[in-house]
């Protein structure tokens, strides 16, 4: 039955295992999903073709390996082994290559000379090893060799099957294709070693590592098979015994021959924080990069590479690149790390972790993120192409390309009904947060967290949101909750620190921020919070140092640079501030906060035109925000000051009116407004606004001085026709003459005799009004510009 070893559909021994095995579920879904029908057909076809070739290869095989023969006839049923990464990759591990060979290259060689390859394989493992590995490689080779053959449809398969009805192999094949998952394997037919392997695999799947280790150890001692060594190492890895993994794998020089083993060893070294050793093993750059490039020479080579990639999993090359990136980032070499991650995701788009590292850890600037996204080739994902592409899209920064994000979210919601999925919701939440719609954001967060309370993707935004809203009580509850349930996650301590921050307990906050950072040094919000504690205490030097570290840690995040600029600005070092702002601006030119700060900087440098430009751009950015948001208001205010400096007082006042419509009262707003009215010579208004300012902030000396000045002006103001006193007198006269009572009134007193109204009082004081009327000119009321807003 060896020919049934297509990587597609070999069932597992137990349904239980089937359900949990990562290998199987992968394949299983492929056979079941109707969308994959075509692919499955193709595979079936290939298998059929393989079968035709079967005799020769099998013969050769048998020739070469005397002791293998029929003992392993049912080997193909071992899903785990067949699809074992080692099994797949060791075939490709060449001896001919000087250091590390690309799998693609190897297939090419296989193509050239099949028999040589087999010999090589044989020599590599020695005759004594009747490994499944080899069989896999043989099968794979055949499969590849024939992949270019004209595709046959299912009918052909049926025909073929009919041709070989009496062939025993065919029956097996039929069962695997039609009832891949339901076939019960007759355990009794297996050899003893096979049974042990099954045992090992099953206990591994059920996380019973001691059993797995125990059995694996026995198997390895019996067979001395590198494959079994690999699996034993795998068990060690799961147990966390990284040292033992390394020891085991380096014993048989497996680390130099098998890429999978290398990967595992590097992973272990990484976990043991032996970064240099790890780098030694996998190399400082991607060794495959050049070969991949040359492999594009021939068309058939390409197609073979395509086939190889189509095994559905993540390409080992990509994983290696990712691992390399992680090592670099652990060594704080962020440029290299970024390149490695980028390479990883470019080699295989399925390597989401690499993509996540790039987007979440602020390695890329928003623009770079979008560029990368556009470079990615999703075509190999088949029918999932659009969905995955949209999913990746919503991971990107929402500072730019907002419409693309909305579109992606719409597609995901409508076509894939992923509206309730965590990533889609997260996108929405983050958008709300960056647009300062905190209440809305909070609602979304709480809705989602109600059924997934410990989601570490949502929690940071949720906590920041609570901080924004000053919800210290809720933060208290949340952080306690987290501390009870996941005390080992950095997010927990971030929450605790934020709670102290809202209470203004700086020392405690700093303590917990640093605790969080020890757990995850790349947790950007905690970093920034940590630095803010220094800034809040006015420890400029420490703040500056910490900000620069943060800027180095998060090259794709403009905030550290911006804060650096702000620190320098508060130290009145405008040149440095400008430099840092420019750096931040290069990273993200859309952030209203940054634009605002730049506006402020130029304001301080007395370059008001420039300031106006930046502030206006900031206004554009916040145009769709909640107008009561602090950001929007502070930008407006800064703009007002700029207009003021530019001498455009009318415009400044107009701007202010807009702010006052929406915002709460603030002493400084009134102060500036008073100042502006003073400038445009509206004394009365100026004084009344300055009074308001002083009412809100009694100790404001600027307001006091301005008020004094205004009052001085008020004294010398000539009492002419425009003086408010004169104006109000005139108005009073006007009112006296206004008919309050319409003439066509029906309720006239002729019909309703006043019964209990006293005689009209004679009011001596009012008698003077006739006199005053005479003395004043009759002029129409001077209407104030903004007195009324009727209709």
């Amino acid at each position: 039955m060896r020919n049934g070893m297509s990587p597609g559909r070999t069932p597992s021994q137990h349904n239980s295992t089937l359900a949990i095995s990562p290998f199987i579920t992968n394949r299983y879904s492929r056979t079941v999903a109707p969308a994959q029908q075509q692919q499955q057909q193709q595979q079936q076809t290939q298998i059929q073709q393989t079968k035709h070739k079967r005799p020769q290869t099998a013969d050769k095989d048998n020739d070469n390996q005397q002791n293998s023969s029929a003992t392993y006839s049912r080997m193909d049923n071992f899903q785990a082994i067949v699809s074992s990464p080692l099994g797949l990759k060791t075939r490709d591990a060449p001896v001919a290559q000087p250091s590390l060979a690309t799998p693609y290259h190897q297939t090419k060689r296989n193509n050239e000379d099949e028999s040589i390859k087999i010999n090589k394989n044989g020599s590599m493992f020695g005759l004594a090893i009747p490994s499944t590995v080899r069989k896999v490689s043989i099968q794979e080779t055949d499969y590849r060799n024939n992949s270019n053959v004209t595709k046959t449809n299912i009918d052909d398969v049926m025909d073929n099957r009919n041709d070989t009805t009496n062939d025993k192999l065919t029956t097996t094949l039929t069962t695997t294709t039609t009832a891949a998952t339901t076939t019960d394997i007759d355990v009794s037919e297996l050899t003893s070693v096979e049974r042990l392997r099954l045992w090992r695999h099953d206990s591994l799947m059920q996380h019973m590592y001691d059993t797995a280790e125990y059995i694996g150890n026995k198997i390895y001692t019996i067979t001395k098979d590198p494959n079994d060594a690999f699996w034993l190492a795998q068990v060690y890895y799961y147990k966390g015994a990284y040292k033992r993994v390394i020891d085991l794998l380096s014993m048989d020089d497996l680390d130099t021959t098998s890429i999978m083993c290398q990967y595992l060893i590097t992973l272990c070294l990484f976990n043991l924080t032996k970064y240099d050793d790890a780098l030694d093993i996998i190399g400082e750059t991607n060794p495959f990069a050049t070969t991949t490039a040359t492999a594009t020479d021939a068309d058939d080579d390409m197609s073979m590479i395509q086939d190889l990639q189509n095994d559905g999993g993540i390409k080992i090359e990509s994983s290696l690149c990712f691992l390399r990136g992680k090592i670099y980032s652990a060594q704080n070499n962020f440029t290299r790390a970024k390149e490695c991650f980028k390479e990883a995701v470019l080699v295989d788009v399925k390597n989401f972790e690499a993509f996540q590292q790039l987007t979440n850890k602020n390695l890329l600037t928003p623009k770079e993120e979008w560029d990368l996204l556009d470079c990615l080739d999703f075509s190999e994902l088949g029918d999932n192409e659009t969905m995955i592409k949209q999913l990746y899209t919503i991971c990107c920064s929402n500072y730019i390309n907002k419409e693309r994000l909305t579109e992606a979210r719409k597609i995901l919601c409508e076509e894939y009904s992923l509206g309730q999925n965590v990533d889609v919701i997260r996108g929405k939440i983050e958008l709300c947060f960056t647009s300062c719609k905190y209440n809305e954001c909070l609602d979304y967060c709480e809705k989602y967290l109600s059924h997934d309370e410990l989601n570490t993707k949502i929690l940071p935004t949720y906590i920041s949101c609570l901080q924004e809203l000053g919800a210290s009580n809720k933060l208290f509850l949340v952080s306690h909750n987290l501390a009870e349930r996941i005390p080992k996650e950095p997010i927990t301590w971030y929450a605790v620190a934020t709670y102290y921050m809202t209470l203004k307990k700086i020392i405690e906050a700093r303590k917990f921020y640093s605790k969080c950072l020890i757990m995850d040094p790349f947790f950007a919000p905690a970093w920034l919070g940590f630095v803010h504690t220094f800034a809040a205490e006015g420890e400029q030097d420490q703040a500056l140092a910490a900000y620069s570290t943060a800027a180095r840690f998060f090259p794709g995040n403009h905030l550290p640079n911006m804060f650096l600029g702000m620190q320098y600005m508060s130290l009145n070092n405008y040149a440095l501030a400008e430099e840092y702002f420019t750096l931040a601006y290069d990273i993200c030119s859309q952030d209203p906060l940054l634009l605002n700060e730049m506006g402020v900087l130029y304001f301080k440098k007395d370059e008001f035109e420039k300031s106006k430009k930046y502030l206006n751009r900031a206004m554009e950015q916040v145009s769709d925000l909640n107008p009561t948001a602090k950001t929007a208001i502070s930008i407006q205010l800064n703009l007002v000051h700029t207009y003021r400096k530019l001498g455009d007082y009318e415009r400044a006042i107009k701007c202010f009116k807009y702010v006052l419509d929406d915002s709460e009262k603030d002493g400084d707003i009134y102060l500036t407004l008073g100042f502006l009215y003073l400038k445009v010579k509206q004394l009365e208004k100026a004084i009344s606004f300055l009074h308001k300012a002083l009412a809100l902030k009694p100790k404001n000396t600027a307001a006091q001085e301005l008020l004094l000045h205004a009052l001085e002006l008020n004294v010398v103001l000539a009492i002419d026709d425009d003086h408010p006193l004169v104006v109000s007198s005139k108005i009073q006269d006007e009112i006296d003459r206004t008919e309050m009572w319409n003439s066509d009134d029906l309720l006239t007193k002729t019909h309703l005799e006043p019964t209990n109204v006293k005689k009209r009082p004679s009011i001596p004081f009012l008698d003077s009004k006739n006199l005053s009327k005479r003395s004043r000119k009759n002029q129409p009321t001077a209407e104030e510009d903004d007195a009324m807003d009727l209709e």
């Binding site: 209440n439 000051h641 929406d662």
Partner: protein, 644 residues
């Protein structure tokens, strides 16, 4: 013809008041509802109306000989609005729940259960609850400071909020800009109440929600007539919120919108009045109401749709006059008319009394208040004014009786506290008086008169700074209160800050341009600031406004002084002479100013070498201070010597 119309109008007014009372109490606008039903009660036994109706319907409704026996199922009586009008069953149940919670003062709960309602009336109730809840919390935080005795409040709360807000330094850090100009560029969020569970409420947020709702449903409202009451209520709330936010012009628009949809909402008229802060504005609003104000068909019954016939409009004009004064004849006509409509309405009587009070005719005012107490003995509204009158008239025993009486009715009403405070003030127990004013203010922080009177008490205690704070509060709440402005001016005068006091006197003067005292105070300030030009103008204006401009010896003398300062000796002399001549017209009654004027003139004549004239003037000075008499004698002696 006119007679029938009159009857019709009266009937419509009656129906409108009845309906509005029911609807408004359904929607928890209790004050308005109370006002409506009191007004209805006040017109109950209008003799003319009852007689006519019974006459008119004698033929077909012989059984009901008197309208008081007319049953509600009578087809001539307009249908009484039902609680469930225009509701689906679900909405009605929701309303009942919300209504109960509201009555138990559980505003947060009420708002919570009304979340996501779309029916405009329910939406109103929800937002109204939110507002009340916010208000309650804000008041509570202010109260503490009031109770502990610090008059100046607000700062402590603001500081706390500052603390909270500076916490989110990431966002706040961007505000470090412009610190050179404004010392602390911090928050915009005074008055935000944090629930600490992430919910916050502020007037701005409520306003935004309300605006969003109104904008989203604008088209629906235009099409359907059924929602008019709800929309009117929402506009009313919008106005209240805007007013709270200090945005008076927009609030005014909202109130007018609300009133044109539903005019029988008295508090809405009061709020509208509150939005008018200047004389010219009052003129404009009057013009607008007379010419453009349209009343909707739906909620205004019969003749009440016509602006000129709408009783509420007339009531509003009455109140407008009280605030801004105007043509007194028109006003009295108006008042008489309304008194024929609702003869027993205590509110209207109180308005009548207020007019007398405002024109300082205290005796008449007192009479009317006595009447009011007879009709409605337990009504506490406006009685604080009554106590002011008694205070001014120095009727101590009556004031004491009133204080005792009202404290028996309800000790925890702001009016009661004010009355008791007045009583203590009359007994010269100013500390106690201040305590009671403070109590009154805790109960109603918007009472300007209490703030102002408290200011007066502080002045009595020579605590000018505290007085200033009180007056400030008063003008913050109602910047039309000329007494508070005047008080501010006086307090600053005591503090020798004439520049400030000038501004406040100017304010008071602008509000009461026909009050001589205001002009005189302003003029005095000008003179103290050595700005004789302004002083002269103001004195002259005061003179013009004087009741008998030929008798103002003080004004003449001051004017003369100012002209002297300005170097216009001719004018100076003219007024000095005028001042002196008053002596003659007053038949020998000599004022201090006349003596001073005479002395000045004598001096002047002496200097101009008119010794004879100087001599004559100088010997005329027989009384006055010893110094003056001495000086006059010196002049006379010198003159005599020189003449010889």
């Amino acid at each position: 013809m006119n007679e029938i119309n009159t009857i019709e109008i009266l009937r419509d007014v009656r129906d409108s008041l009845r309906c509005s009372s029911i609807q408004l109490s359904q929607w928890k606008l209790m004050k308005s509802a109370k006002w409506s039903i009191e007004a209805l009660h006040g017109m109950e036994d209008t003799p003319l109306a009852s007689g006519d109706i019974s006459e008119e319907h004698m033929a077909d409704a012989s059984s009901s000989s008197s309208p008081s026996k007319m049953l509600f199922n009578d087809p001539r009586v307009r249908k009484i609005p039902q609680l469930n009008d225009g509701f689906t069953q679900d909405e009605f149940d929701k309303y009942l729940l919300a209504s109960s919670l509201f009555d138990c003062k559980e505003f947060d709960r009420c708002a919570y259960f009304l979340e996501n309602v779309t029916e405009p009336r329910l939406k109103f109730l929800q937002l109204y609850c939110k507002y009340l809840s916010w208000d309650k919390k804000t008041v509570e935080s202010v109260e503490n400071i009031l109770v502990t005795g610090k008059v100046k409040n607000g700062n402590n709360i603001n500081d706390n909020i500052d603390m909270i807000e500076n916490g989110d330094s990431e966002q706040n850090a961007e505000m470090n800009g412009f610190t050179d100009f404004t010392n602390t560029q911090s928050k915009q969020k005074n008055g935000v109440q944090y629930m600490e569970d992430g919910h916050q409420s502020s007037v701005a947020l409520l306003l935004k929600e309300l605006r969003d709702y109104l904008n989203a449903n604008e088209s629906n409202f235009l099409n359907s007539k059924d929602t008019e009451l709800g929309v009117a209520l929402l506009y009313y709330l919008k106005g209240v919120l805007l007013n709270q936010n200090g945005n008076k012009p927009q609030a005014l628009t909202a109130f007018i919108n609300s009133l044109s949809l539903y005019s029988y909402n008295w508090t809405c008229w009061i709020e509208l009045l509150d939005c008018v802060s200047r004389l010219d504005e009052s003129l404009l609003i009057l013009k607008h109401l007379n010419e453009q104000f349209e009343l909707s068909q739906q909620n205004n019954i019969g003749t009440q749709q016509i602006g000129s016939q709408n009783v509420m409009l007339k009531f509003f004009k009455l109140s407008l006059f009280q605030e801004f004064s105007g043509n007194i004849d028109e006003f009295l006509e108006n008042l008489e008319l309304l008194l024929t409509v609702t003869p027993n309405f205590a509110f209207l009587k109180a308005q009548n009394a207020l007019v007398y009070y405002n024109h300082m005719d205290y005796a008449n005012s007192e009479n009317i208040f006595d009447q009011i107490i007879k009709i409605d003995p337990y009504r506490l509204e406006d009685l604080d004014i009554y106590s002011n009158i008694l205070y001014v008239m120095q009727k101590q025993s009556k004031l004491a009786y009133l204080a005792q009486f009202v404290s028996q009715i309800d000790r925890f009403r702001p009016e009661t506290c004010s009355i008791i405070a007045n009583y203590y003030s009359a007994r010269q127990e100013h500390e106690k008086s201040i305590m009671y004013f403070r109590r009154a203010l805790i109960l109603n922080k918007k009472s300007t008169s209490a703030w102002t009177l408290m200011g007066h008490e502080f002045v009595e205690l020579k605590n000018s700074h505290a007085a200033v704070e009180c007056y400030r509060r008063a003008v913050d709440i109602n910047n039309r209160d000329f007494r508070a402005w005047y008080g501010l001016g006086q307090a600053y005068e005591v503090l020798d800050m004439h520049m400030y006091s000038l501004y406040y006197f100017q304010k008071a003067c602008a509000l009461k341009p026909l009050d001589r005292r205001m002009w005189q105070a302003t003029a005095e300030c000008y003179s103290k600031l050595k700005h004789s030009g302004g002083a002269i103008k103001c004195y002259q204006r005061a003179l013009q406004l004087s009741a008998n401009p030929d008798q103002e010896s003080l004004l003449f003398y001051r004017l003369a002084q100012q002209y002297e300062e300005a170097g216009e000796m001719d004018n100076c002399k003219h007024y000095m002479t005028k001042c002196m001549e008053l002596e003659r017209t007053n038949e020998g009654l000599v004022t201090d100013e006349a003596i001073k004027a005479k002395l000045w003139l004598a001096n002047d004549a002496f200097q101009n070498k008119k010794y004879e004239e100087a001599y004559n003037l100088a010997i005329g000075i027989t009384n006055g201070t010893s110094q003056e008499v001495e000086e006059a004698r010196t002049i006379a002696r010198n003159c005599r010597m020189l003449l010889k």
